[in-house]
């Protein structure tokens, strides 16, 4: 796969929840190895975008394309087995299961089950803390540790594309920084990352490119550095209200 093949594409995607038009003619294209963020305020359709990619919500028109294959209408399980996984908002671990069980669920669809130990070792290398907590209930971990497990759980599927829903949500500032370092590191290992964020400044500081979503429509699409310099965006998202 060459560097510039889009690994994930939205081609004119429209999504409706009943009569409500949530995503409007959305076009997104993410290349392999990129770290792209989708910025937008509350109710702008960010989470719906991720759900559409995962096939938990189906577009009313337009196509979702993964690796050049149109996957519109496929089940979540099919899409996950194509190598797309998500770290949900607020981590949402299976709190009453152990850390190890959480990680194993992450690899639920993998067929190469003999590779799981190696995968787990890889995650322990990234997060040594997780290894110490392996037999503990996920719900008893601290927020930062839960974030590590949530990321680890997604990585257990050995994804090509990692979707992150609001990685900074509900974390202390120091942990947010740590979290973004982790995302950058995962991206450097070759995993394409598509991240949905409200914290525009933080997200753009590590992203290659960004899209800005306003009530279901993409209104800006640029490189991260240009977006950071964009006056309108600064006004809208970086707290510089006039």
């Amino acid at each position: 796969m060459s560097e510039n093949t889009p690994v994930l594409e939205f081609r004119g995607v429209n999504v409706h929840y009943g009569p409500v038009h949530v995503l409007k003619d959305m076009n997104v294209s993410i290349n392999a190895g990129e770290l792209v963020c989708l910025l937008g305020g509350n109710a702008s359709g960010k989470t719906t975008t991720l759900k559409t990619i995962l096939g938990m919500v189906h577009p009313s028109s337009g196509d979702v394309v993964i690796d050049g294959d149109v996957v519109t209408g496929e089940t979540t399980a099919q899409i996950v087995s194509r190598g797309v996984t998500m770290v949900p908002e607020n981590r949402r671990l299976f709190k009453r299961m152990t850390v190890k069980e959480n990680l194993e669920i992450g690899a639920y669809l993998r067929t190469d089950r003999d590779q799981l130990d190696a995968e787990m070792d890889h995650i322990f290398e990234m997060f040594p803390r997780v290894k110490e907590r392996l037999s503990q209930k996920a719900g008893t971990l601290s927020g930062g540790e839960q974030q590590m497990v949530a990321v680890g759980r997604a990585l257990m599927a050995k994804p090509k594309v990692l979707l992150m829903d609001e990685p900074s949500m509900g974390l202390a500032p120091v942990l947010v920084q740590q979290n973004f370092d982790i995302i950058e590191r995962i991206n450097n290992e070759g995993v394409t990352v598509f991240m949905v964020e409200q914290n525009a400044n933080m997200a753009l500081s590590i992203a290659d490119r960004g899209y800005v979503l306003l009530t279901g429509r993409i209104v800006l699409d640029d490189t991260a550095s240009d977006l950071l310099a964009n006056e309108d965006l600064r006004k809208a998202y970086l707290g510089e209200v006039d």
């Binding site: 996950v80 996984t85 009453r96 299961m97 669920i105 992450g106």
Partner: protein
């Protein structure tokens, strides 16, 4: 709201713990009401036949006597939720208990006077002279009232004393009382065992001629139990189980293996020395364990509240009836449930396949639903299946309200396993229960088991992890259905006939209560729950050890459920997983945070 706020302020400002009179009044009045209620619904009269200590203490009096004791103890005890327990000084607890008990007794005495004055027998069959006679001990109203007031005052005082005396003493007393009650209530079983072991003289000595313990034997049994309680370990059962989890895996494995071996040996040899009645109880327990294990997968593991579970039990029973009975209305292949020939296996196969199909049929429309909706729809389906069997439409195949009778015995080669031989049935059911336990245990640890747990925990995220939630829910439904259908097959053979009315909603509810009382998601919990509810109290149509409880069974079920939900929501024998969930999550998290902080500080300096 403001009141409770004020009270908690008071507590902080007035260290010597004044008696909380409003609390005492409340519990005293509640006690009197409960006692009157228990008497009014006829428990005292009905349970009077059950003698605990001959001739003066019957289960009837125990059914009211526990009330001032327990309520007195509650009245004197500040609820622990409001903060760390304070040092017990004694005076407050004793006074509160005594006064609450006296109040209860006063209320109850008034109740007796009222019953004596007005004969309610026309409206409430139990509220009449018979009850008055029982409650006044034939000593006249005034004397009896005084006795009740003083008696419940003393019981309340004892209740208040519970939190004052040292833990060891409390435990010994509790063991002593429980021991006497247990031995008295298990009279049938104890007599059975002593006869089986040819040591009848023991039970002859323990039990009075007309039932119940004699004064001497009650004293001995009570003392022995008290000694047992005194010497028993201070650890709670949970602590002990948790300690066991810390053991070396090899040691634990060996201990588990020994426990399992003992259980298997007991299952093999116990029925030989037990009599028909006890074996009958055990066989009923086995049937409900089988169903409970299945529902435990659906409700306990996968978190799907299925209220129509009895439908699958009905499917298994009806198919077995059709396949075996010569009286099957339309098609009667007259097979025999014989597992040494192909016929038995064909029946089992057909029953399991039909149950799986029924599971898919019921499951497919409901797997897309969640929580309450799923419960309501399954409730409907359960009733639909029963009414179908009852309908004229199905009557030509399943006999309608007449059901199907004359279901022949099961067999093992030449050996006949007659439904009326409870011992043989117990062995047959035990084999299936054994297999079911193994399958359920393996399933819990399987990939599907993990997926079920994940589903229960967070359905959305489970879906995002690539778990096909609809398929995995359906798997749970189908697995549960197969367990129930096996129970249905055995039930048909055991009872010898099937009628639509054996498969009422109540059966579903009873199985659910077994799972909840035992501990959701716990396999031993299902067994404990079935023993307590079916073996001791009795099932929907099956009598239990306490046959006199018959008509109050549902009331007692309800009370057990409420008390369990308040005091021990994780069940009698919970899976350790769930126990931690319900009691230690927050504490655990705080502890870890502290540890973390400690570690961080340690590395910083």
């Amino acid at each position: 709201m403001t009141q409770s706020l004020e009270r908690s302020v008071d507590v902080e400002e007035l260290p010597p713990n004044p008696v909380d009179w409003s609390r005492v009044q409340k519990w005293g009045a509640l006690g009197g009401l409960t006692m009157s209620f228990v008497a009014a619904i006829g428990m005292v009269t009905a349970l009077d036949a059950r003698i605990i200590i001959s001739p003066w203490l019957t289960m009837g009096f125990v059914s009211v006597g526990w009330i001032p004791l327990v309520y007195g103890s509650i009245a004197g005890n500040e609820p622990s939720e409001q903060g760390p327990a304070r040092a017990v000084e004694g005076e407050r607890e004793l006074v509160s208990g005594l006064v609450a008990g006296l109040l209860s007794g006063l209320f109850f005495a008034l109740f007796i006077v009222l019953i004596d004055a007005v004969d309610f027998t026309d409206i409430f069959g139990r509220l009449g002279p018979r009850l008055v006679e029982l409650l006044t001990f034939g000593k006249g109203l005034a004397a009896a009232s005084a006795m009740w007031i003083i008696g419940s005052g003393l019981l309340g005082l004892a209740g208040g004393a519970v939190s004052v005396v040292p833990r060891k003493v409390r435990k010994a007393l509790a063991y002593g009382i429980a021991g006497v009650l247990l031995v008295a209530l298990m009279e049938i079983i104890v007599t059975d065992i002593t006869q089986g072991l040819r040591i009848e003289f023991l039970s002859d000595w323990i039990y009075a001629l007309n039932g119940g313990l004699t004064n001497q034997s009650a004293l001995v049994v009570g003392l022995l139990s008290a000694v047992l309680g005194w010497r028993s370990s201070d650890q709670t059962l949970t602590e002990r189980r948790q300690a066991r989890m810390q053991l070396d895996p090899d040691v634990r494995f060996r201990k588990n293996a020994i426990a399992i071996a003992i259980t298997i040996l007991a299952v093999i040899f116990l029925p030989m020395i037990l009599g028909g009645l006890t074996n009958e109880l055990l066989a009923n327990v086995g049937l409900f364990v089988l169903m409970g294990l299945g529902l435990n997968i659906v409700v306990g593991s996968a978190g799907l509240l299925d209220l129509g579970y009895v439908a699958f039990f009905a499917v298994g029973a009806y198919l077995t009836a059709v396949l075996t009975s010569p009286f099957s209305p339309s098609w009667a292949p007259e097979l025999t449930l014989n597992f040494l020939s192909w016929e038995g296996w064909v029946i089992l196969g057909i029953v399991l396949i039909a149950a799986a199909l029924a599971g898919i049929f019921v499951g497919t429309p409901v797997v897309r639903l969640r929580g309450d909706y799923l419960a309501i729809v399954t409730l409907g389906f359960g009733e639909i299946i029963r009414i179908l069997f009852l309908s004229d439409w199905f009557a030509p195949y399943f006999g309608g309200a007449q059901g199907i009778t004359q279901i022949p015995s099961a067999a093992l080669g030449p050996v006949e396993i007659r439904g009326t031989s409870s011992q043989a049935m117990f062995y047959l059911i035990s084999v299936f229960v054994g297999i079911a336990i193994y399958v359920a245990w393996r399933l819990q640890r399987s990939r599907a088991g993990r997926a079920w747990t994940a589903l229960r925990e967070d359905e959305d995220v489970a879906e995002a992890m690539g778990i096909n939630t609809a398929a995995i829910k359906l798997t749970a439904f189908v697995t549960g259905a197969m367990f129930a259908s096996m129970a249905g097959m055995l039930f048909a053979v055991k009872v010898g006939s099937v009628f639509p009315n054996s498969f009422k909603l109540l059966v579903s509810i009873v199985i659910l209560v077994i799972v909840i009382v035992g501990g959701m998601g716990s396999i031993p919990g299902v067994i404990v729950g079935a023993v307590v509810l079916i073996g001791i109290l009795g099932g929907p149509t099956q009598p239990g050890l306490l046959q006199e409880f018959g008509e109050f069974k549902l009331l007692v079920y309800g009370v057990i459920l409420v008390v369990m939900m308040l005091k021990r929501p994780e069940g009698l024998w919970p899976s350790l997983r769930r126990q931690r969930e319900l009691h230690q999550d927050e504490i655990g998290q705080d502890a870890w945070l502290q540890l973390e902080q400690g570690a961080a500080e340690g590395t910083d300096s």
